[in-house]
């Protein structure tokens, strides 16, 4: 089977399914190994970069999904209404960031960072399918551990957790240096 035909197969599959599909399943469907299938997919992704293309393929933690390019958003909403996404309040977003960067994390750990109860926020994020239970902590009471979902990656345009915005370590270092300098002058002038 020629390369071109495999490309056509993958395109048709991704179009029909609409949702994300794991590389493993795609490889099985086109009867190639995962390595080859991945190469073909990335080859297609390059082709879609052409400015005459309105669609693209995105990778989500080893799964692939077809979607439109962000630059065409305005043209699309001209003729169709897009279902509203969940609006994340400050509380939800802060809680979500903690889960994203600290995962797997328990509710208690989230609460100790934010200084407030997290029950409501955690439940809402689970309901929105942005975080989910990933296991239990081996500690008294076996508290639930939470992690982020694939939907989280999709909603925030992330390929994987590695592509989370980096917390600028330099910035934190700057703070620290500043503080040390001041600490030297520090007297008990409270």
């Amino acid at each position: 089977m020629g390369l071109k035909e495999v490309e056509a197969q993958l395109e048709a599959i991704l179009f029909t399914i609409g949702e994300s599909i794991e590389l493993e399943r795609l490889a099985q469907a086109v009867e190639h190994d995962q390595e080859t299938t991945k190469k073909i997919l990335h080859n297609m992704m390059d082709k879609y970069e052409d400015e005459s293309c309105g669609i693209q393929i995105i990778e989500l933690d080893g799964a692939y999904q077809m979607c439109t390019k962000p630059s065409l958003y305005e043209s699309i909403i001209k003729i169709t209404t897009i279902p509203k996404k969940h609006v994340l309040t400050e509380v939800l977003l802060e809680t979500l960031s903690i889960v994203a960067y600290k995962q797997p994390v328990t509710k208690l750990q989230i609460e100790s960072i934010r200084g407030v109860k997290a029950d409501h926020a955690v439940n809402k994020l689970v309901e929105y399918n942005l975080i989910c239970e990933v296991g239990r902590l081996d500690a008294p009471g076996k508290p639930i551990l939470f992690g982020t979902t694939e939907e989280f990656l999709r909603c925030f345009g992330l390929q994987s957790l590695e592509s989370l915005p980096a917390v600028n370590p330099e910035k934190v270092e700057d703070f620290k240096l500043e503080a040390e300098e001041e600490a030297e002058q520090l007297t008990l002038d409270i």
Partner: protein, 258 residues
């Protein structure tokens, strides 16, 4: 100092603290604890929400601040081989961590806005394929799971639930506002006494529905005996108490009456 911002606007104690630090333009590593604590407490006092849950979260931080403040006021015991730890250090660390998460959540919000511009297509799987129901091999799914193991799992869930319950606090009843006003009841007894002159203790109790009401009424009578304003008689044990009201005026309960 007037409080321009409502406390409800803050996500929690750390949020409020960061706001104060920001507003006073102070270095997070060198927090003037006395000043910040005073301002913090002022905010709490002006808190509109009297929700215990919310309030307690802010109060925990207030206690922490006061603790740091008092530690800083105490003379430092100089020990030679110990590094002097700033009492504020732990608070600074917490604030920094919280600040960092606020910072990344802003970044995530931007990412979300960008990602929302990407649109997806609902599945359009032909009906005949969509109807295909995958046979699930339950036996394979269960694998080597045994009933004993399933029961162990259930037991651990139940055990976990017991652990979750705070055996001390779960026994606490609901805290309700004291509806009984001592001085009001005290005056009420005297009014009753003036009207009836001679009556039985039980008559007074008819109007009290709660246990606390009964106790307070009893205490009221004791106080009146002490002041020589009533005379009581009881024929035999557990018999109703006959009360004769002697005074003609009504006195107010002394502040430290009970």
């Amino acid at each position: 100092m007037s409080i321009p911002v409502k406390l409800e606007a803050f996500e929690g104690p750390l949020d409020l603290l960061l706001h104060l630090i920001d507003k006073n333009k102070i270095n997070i590593y060198d927090i003037p604890i006395v000043e910040i604590t005073d301002q913090y407490l002022e905010y709490i006092q002006n808190m509109k929400v009297k929700d215990m849950e919310v309030m307690s979260e802010f109060l925990v931080m207030a206690a922490t601040l006061i603790n740091i403040k008092s530690r800083m006021l105490l003379p430092v015991e100089v020990k030679e081989d110990e590094d002097e730890v700033d009492p504020r250090q732990e608070l600074v660390d917490r604030l920094l961590e919280y600040k960092m998460f606020k910072y990344v959540s802003d970044k995530l919000r931007d990412k979300q806005d960008d990602a929302a511009r990407v649109l997806y297509k609902p599945p359009t799987i032909p009906d005949e394929i969509a109807d295909y129901k995958e046979e699930i091999d339950v036996e394979e799914l269960i694998g080597d799971l045994t009933l004993t193991k399933l029961q162990e799992i259930f037991n651990s869930i139940i055990k976990r639930n017991f652990n979750k319950i705070d055996p001390i606090r779960s026994k606490f009843g609901k805290i309700e506002k004291e509806e009984i006003n001592l001085s009001e009841i005290f005056i009420h007894i005297q009014e009753y006494g003036i009207r009836h002159k001679v009556f039985y203790f039980r008559n007074l109790l008819d109007e009290q529905t709660s246990k606390m009401g009964v106790i307070v009424t009893f205490l009221g009578i004791l106080e009146l005996i002490k002041q020589g304003r009533v005379k009581i008689e009881q024929e035999y044990m557990f018999d109703d108490i006959k009360i004769t009201y002697l005074a003609t005026s009504i006195i107010k309960m002394e502040e430290d009456g009970f």
